[in-house]
Amino acid sequence: MSLLHLAIISPFLLAILVPIVYKLFKQIHTGWFVLPLPILLFSYFISYLSITSNQQSVTNSFSWIPSLGIDFTAKIDGLGLLFALLITGIGALVVLYSIYYLDKKKEKLNNFYVYLLLFMGAMLGVVLSDNLIVLYTFWELTSFSSFLLIGYWYHREKSRYGAQKSMIITVFGGLSMLGGIILLYLMTGTFSISEIIAQSDEIFSHSLFVPALLCILLGAFTKSAQFPFHIWLPDAMEAPTPVSAYLHSATMVKAGIYLIARMSPVFAEHSLWLWLIAGFGITTLFWGSFSAVKQTDLKAILAFSTVSQLGMIMSLLGIGAAALHFETVEDGYFTVATTAAVFHLINHATFKGSLFMVAGIVDHETGTRDIRKLGGLMNFMPITFTLAIIGTFAMAGLPPFNGFLSKEMFFTGMVRVLEMDIFNLDTWGFLFPVLAWVASVFTFIYSMIIVFKTFTGKFQPEQLEKKPHEAPIGMLISPIILASLVIIIGFFPNIISNTLISPAQAAIMPAEGYVYDTHISFWHGFTPELFMTLGVITLGILLFATLPKWKGVYGLFPEKLALNRFYDSGLSGIQQGAHGFTRWYMNGSIRNYLVYIFTFFIVILLSTLFIKNAFKFDASNVSAIKFSEIVLALVIAVASITILFVKSRLTSIILLGAVGYTVALFFVIFRAPDLALTQLVIETISVALFLLCFYHLPQIKDEERMPFKATNAVISIGVGLVVTLIAFSAHSNKLFDSISQYYIENTYEKAAGKNMVNVILVDFRGFDTMFEITVLAIAALGIFGMIKLRLGGGKKNENK
């Protein structure tokens, strides 16, 4: 385990300490204890810059489950480092911001910071793992922590709804991604991303290649809120604002983008990859920015804006893949789209992060985020206003902010699509620059709405819950830092071009023996891009000014077709369907369930025995039956049969105990002391348990005795028959050598134990034991819940 692994795991370790610290130091805001970690990690990752800026990478590995090819391999390269810096950097700022945002007396800070740290660790794991299974595990953990954070104010119904929605959609995609990972494993025989990339040429024509591509894309699209899966992101805004700034704009939603960038070297040569990513991306870009304009909640505007910006980065990655088909990768003519994707990813994190924090400040200081109630806050919050101007202008793509540079580059990438003549791009490709331009106009409009509807116009104090004033300085530090980055990157883009952007690009499009060199310039001359930007600004201002006149457009869209309605009715339909189906066979009678289970058991096993012709009886290798064994067998038989006829429960229990103890005696005779011991104790305890249970039941009366039922008799005899047949066959068919010889030889050698049974339990098959005790624990929780909580109202535990 290396320091790099420790860095990934450290948030989890701190998460364990948070509740303790919270209990011990109630007076100090828990956030102060959390804050040092992301700062420390950030500086630690900075130290890797010197390695990755030479477009090299570092790999550290340690075995986790080597027999399945699952090793915790941490790999840090340009792309991974860029994300790691975003996660820890924005993470530190968000933690700082949250200290002022969340009240230490009213909020459950222990929960909040545990979830946040869980997320931080999981996200670092996603971007720094080279093993796909490890990546997947962390990936699901980010969905899970996002669920917890969205539902942080779980007493609100909307929070719970949003949390559930995000969970269902992202986990659905995650599972499909797992399918894709397994398909990749079937093709390549490895889970390691670098090894899969090395084999990418060989698997290109494999029949599973396209299914794997589609599965992986589905995972990425759901996570990164691409149309039509974007519907979870606006509902995720129920989370506290620091969370929205962190997870739902700067980091987690970019996991999908990360995955696509990471898997690009494997899939990018396929035309589907280009068309699907670019197509979905550009649709999302357009739809997100179009929908953002009609929102009235500040955070909802930002949410749709995030959706649209994610679509923009996505489409750039898709278009960038086309560069692989031209021999001139090196001159950067077609790779500019990928450069723009990476560049905009950084820029988006800075300006959107600061805008979310601004929205949080407005909400915190006025009590509302509704732009219909807000207005004229400029005089009360001059600093916040300035920050909002910087953020929104960067988002709208205005100079001199960083958003302008990446937007220009985005236009460049889209315009160059017109010159590509592959995969039918020469026929439909013109749609890309057109849609990009239209979407940018809407982006401009909603950016202006955010800043001008909130900070200028008529001040309406009667609509606000609190008297507005400037936020405390602690809350302003984080957005100020982000806004300064917006300006610094805007003026000096080249400080990140060869330290962050080129190394990331080298990971997305590895070119043998070629070192990427990115240079971002402010002024390109009078290019089509410049005129596109000018057009955006002119039309944007015009449309923003006449917004009330054309807003009716949004009413034209039929409400019935809205994706959210589809989601809601689908969800309730599935629930009702499942409920109805379950009602049909789960009627509450345990007897019926036993009938199902045993009938299934008999049918499956008997037919297998019959079809495989597996029944065999071989008495050649058995020892003689002793008299004592016959006696014991008779005792068991007699006791079992008597149970059927006795009238008192107590007698049944005792007889059942007699059967159990006799079985224990069998174990003694067959020299299995461990089994005998366990069987004896189990028998004793279950008799006591039965006594307790039966204490609650009424006496059996004669007329209540169950009459003889033919089906039950057939089933019970059938079960006995099947077990006997299988026992004979298992003994007689020796298909492979028994494993016992291995244990006999190795128990003392490898585990230094002499009791083979116990060594198998705790060492050789320790994993089984671990899961078994987990199952036991779950069973105990289940029983506890069933009896203590009594869901289902007046029905007392009649089915036990």
């Binding site: 340690f62 305890i685 006591a688 002499k754 339990l761 060492d763 320790g766 671990m770 624990a777 029983i783």
Partner: protein
């Protein structure tokens, strides 16, 4: 379940400790002779159940003010923690280690991480049995 059986109660007071001691012995002996965490845990819960039958739930709660839910959680943490501990030494999950030491009074000892894992099993088994029996017993 109210009982007032003086013979059972007196016997329990003596037998209880013997059973518990035996269960501890069985737990530790498990690596070399029959026994182990599972049986040990069952024996201990057997002892507690005896106490429960001889006296009543209140007495048991008074003598053993333990939250068995926590006991289950602790047990699981022991098992998983032992497994995860191996990762710190760059070996796969659930790799056990052992060593032999000679101590002044106790003499020759063989220490195993497997024993920690088994302790987890022990705790979970006691916790689960007691939770089941207590919930059903307390129910009315």
């Amino acid at each position: 379940m109210k009982t007032n059986d003086i013979i059972l109660q007196t016997a329990t007071k003596v037998v209880l400790f013997i059973i518990v001691l035996f269960s501890v012995y069985i737990f530790f002996a498990g690596h070399y002779t029959p026994g182990g965490g599972f049986v040990g845990g069952l024996l201990t819960s057997g002892a507690i159940i005896l106490l429960l039958l001889a006296f009543d739930m209140k007495t048991v709660d008074k003598i053993l003010p333990v939250n068995f839910m926590y006991m289950i959680a602790t047990g699981l943490l022991f098992a998983i923690g032992t497994g995860a501990g191996g990762l710190l030494f760059n070996v796969p999950f659930l790799t056990h280690a052992f060593t032999d030491v000679d101590l002044p009074i106790l003499g020759h000892l063989s220490l195993h991480t497997a024993a920690l894992f088994d302790l987890g099993v022990f705790l979970v088994v006691v916790g689960v049995t007691m939770i089941i029996i207590k919930t059903i017993g307390e129910d009315d």
